[in-house]
Symmetry: C2
Subunit: 188 residues, 2 copies
């Protein structure tokens, strides 16, 4: 079942790019809940065109985020080589936090896709979860991080904290330190 799809027509590709750019700008300014009609308008494209390329808001978010997820995955692979698995994990969690706070509302969008295989963002969530799992396994087998902890936990906690940080205080980093500190094994 190979869906041989011919290349996009010139106007289609042009509009696709314009929409992506406009969406990035709108998300940066108004968060991921920005009006889709506004995005279409500022891309100078009809609303129908937006919906044809991106049937749902999440599809649009996914497209905007795609490169970032690939980068996070690559960073995780690099960090697997780190001499300190614990520090590697924490470092990656900070990268993940930075990613989740790129746009207001993004953490919510990601969170609502983690357990919804129908969501266009599900694939991205899985990728991140796998990256986290690998780093976590390393840190756990080094005895640095409590063994009852899954990659899914990590993603959820980071997203929850990113979301909390959106409301007052920009405290996401502080809260992350607090929580991450508590995830280490107890040496009692």
């Amino acid at each position: 079942m190979t869906t041989t799809q011919r290349p996009m027509r010139a106007d289609a590709r042009r509009n696709y790019e314009r929409l992506l750019t406009a969406a990035r700008d709108a998300f940066a300014g108004n968060g991921t809940e920005a009006s889709l009609e506004d995005i279409a308008r500022s891309a100078e494209v009809g609303i129908g065109t937006l919906y044809r390329h991106f049937p749902t808001r999440r599809a649009l978010i996914e497209a905007v985020l795609h490169d970032g997820v690939v980068t996070l995955d690559a960073q995780a692979r690099e960090l697997l080589e780190s001499p300190s698995p614990e520090e590697a994990l924490l470092e990656w969690l900070r990268h993940l936090m930075a990613h989740a706070t790129t746009y207001r509302g993004l953490a919510a969008a990601l969170m609502s896709s983690i357990d919804d295989p129908g969501s266009e963002l599900y694939g991205s969530c899985e990728t991140l979860q796998n990256s986290g799992d690998r780093l976590l396994a390393h840190a756990q087998s080094a005895g640095a991080i409590r063994p009852d902890l899954t990659g899914a936990d990590l993603i959820k906690l980071v997203n929850a904290i990113a979301w909390a940080g959106e409301h007052g205080g920009n405290e996401a980093d502080r809260l992350l330190d607090l929580v991450a500190d508590g995830l280490r094994t107890r040496d009692r």
Copy 2:
């Protein structure tokens, strides 16, 4: 500046109560983002009447939640007498979590009011924060909980976890245990 307000007229009080009941039902069924027109309709009251009594959605949520907040405050006062300040704090956090997960969407509503003095829910947030502060101070002076931690942190973390629990897995309790465990002082 004593605003001497005469008692509500009979029809006004009747409608107020009907709206409160309808709102509770709607929130329980559809979350705190339930349609306000639906609430007015099921209360058999005009939409204008709803808005007169509750100018914003948050005002309505506040009214529905009021008793619960009073109860949480009372529970905190009782728990202050507990022989184990640490266990008392954790116990109260579990109560707080149960409260924050009463309705889908509630954690989000609370979180967005914590740092917004203009919100009708701000007062409730302050009450909870103060309750948490007192229990926290006890546990901290007993050396059980890390000293760099504020009541505001507690409320935000619990709400963030409650919110995370709404999305997939009903894992709020597990995540709370995980995080709470990490808030204790390190005995190294």
